[in-house]
């Protein structure tokens, strides 16, 4: 996450996205395509987080893009494009969920599944580490799982987006993230396979 400063390529460049948006509005198809490619995964994750199944999540992402190009006037703040799209995805998803009267899951992405043989080639160290994080993550309270899943996906997440998506008070997001990461870390440190991974890393370096 914070590797952003060391890897500027990861940083969200709102000016560039705004520029792409304005070009796309003016009819530049490749700018439109570039935006879709760049933002689709974030939007897809947001749709899944609401509890929609995979197909409906895909539908909702399409709807958000259609809405974006449909509004007659340009967005007043093109730099807020990402936020606008995420908010639209969440609202469309909630509309569908309300319509279906469906129970919403806290973390619909089921990472409970045991790793299969296909992951073996990744190497045992990575597997052990991944397993340790998976166990520790699942041991955290629902609130923490939601928030951490969110901040893990979006580099430099926007507080307003999180507040809206998770129904949290803006001011509590920073402290909650800190507390959740802290708890997760303590759970991990108690797990021998995590500390083992840690030692190996140091030796490798």
């Amino acid at each position: 996450m914070n590797a952003i400063s060391a890897h500027p390529v990861d940083a969200v460049d709102y000016d560039r996205r705004a520029q792409l948006y304005l070009s796309a509005r003016a009819g530049d198809g490749s700018a439109q395509q570039a935006l879709v490619t760049e933002l689709n995964e974030i939007l897809w994750r947001a749709a899944r987080r609401t509890g929609l199944d995979r197909e409906r999540a895909a539908d909702v992402v399409q709807t958000a893009w259609l809405r974006l190009w449909h509004i007659e006037k340009e967005l007043e703040h093109p730099r807020a494009l990402t936020k606008w799209l995420l908010t639209t995805v969440s609202r469309e998803a909630w509309k569908q969920i309300g319509h279906m009267r469906r129970e919403v899951l806290a973390d619909p992405i089921d990472i409970r599944v045991e790793e299969t043989a296909e992951s073996a080639e990744d190497g045992l160290v990575r597997d052990a580490e991944r397993e340790a994080v998976r166990r520790a993550f699942l041991a955290q309270p629902e609130r923490c799982r939601q928030l951490l899943a969110f901040v893990a996906t979006v580099s430099r997440p926007d507080y307003d987006i999180i507040a809206e998506a998770l129904g949290m008070k803006r001011g509590s997001i920073g402290p909650t993230r800190g507390r959740c990461l802290d708890k997760l870390r303590r759970t991990l440190l108690d797990d021998p396979s995590w500390s083992a991974g840690e030692e190996r890393d140091e030796n490798a370096a």
Binding site: N2, W44, R56, D59, L66, A149, D160
Partner: protein
């Protein structure tokens, strides 16, 4: 102040251990729930159509089997068929059931409500197929390629439009 500028500095910096944990959490979600490989393609596909249409367009969205529990079962032709997909909006309901026919091909049986005559266009990257419904809103399309991205574009006839239906109804791009 622009909201993004404000919020970028809000999170306390993370140390390398937190970063590592978060990147594994992200990776786990990627592995267990990858974004559909063709989602970019689907978005481009529906946007292309949207750029061509200038009529009043209504979008239908997936309703699915949960509609049944709400007692709307009369809308569900082929009720209980797990292959069926239902889309609806306030004005229109569209149901399609794909069935294997020729090798690598599907037959698509569809029903559109309210009753009436509709022109149906099935868009795929290969091109479009067209059919008309009978007076009760039923249609069938043969030789639909299996596993392709598809989108239905439905045009109610004038009688239906006089009853208040939109000129064009579109579904999302789906894979059946």
């Amino acid at each position: 102040m622009r909201p993004e500028d404000e919020s970028q500095s809000e999170f306390e910096p993370l140390d390398s251990c937190d970063e590592r944990i978060l990147s594994v959490i992200n990776e786990l979600h990627h592995r267990h729930d990858p974004i559909p490989v063709d989602l970019n393609e689907r978005v481009q596909f529906v946007l292309e159509l949207e750029a061509e249409l200038d009529a009043r367009v209504a979008r239908v969205s997936r309703s699915g089997d949960l509609v049944l529990t709400r007692g709307d079962s009369e809308l569900m032709v082929g009720q209980g068929d797990p292959a069926s997909v239902t889309f609806d909006c306030e004005a229109v309901t569209v149901m399609v059931t794909p069935r294997p026919s020729a090798p690598g091909g599907l037959r698509l049986d569809g029903w559109i409500g309210p009753e009436g005559i509709y022109e149906v266009e099935l868009r795929s990257p290969e091109g479009s197929r067209r059919a008309s419904t009978d007076g009760s809103g039923r249609f069938a399309l043969e030789g639909v390629p299996d596993g392709q991205m598809l989108q239905l574009v439905i045009r109610p006839d004038e009688t239906l439009q006089r009853q208040g239906l939109p000129a064009v109804v579109v579904t999302p791009a789906v894979r059946l």
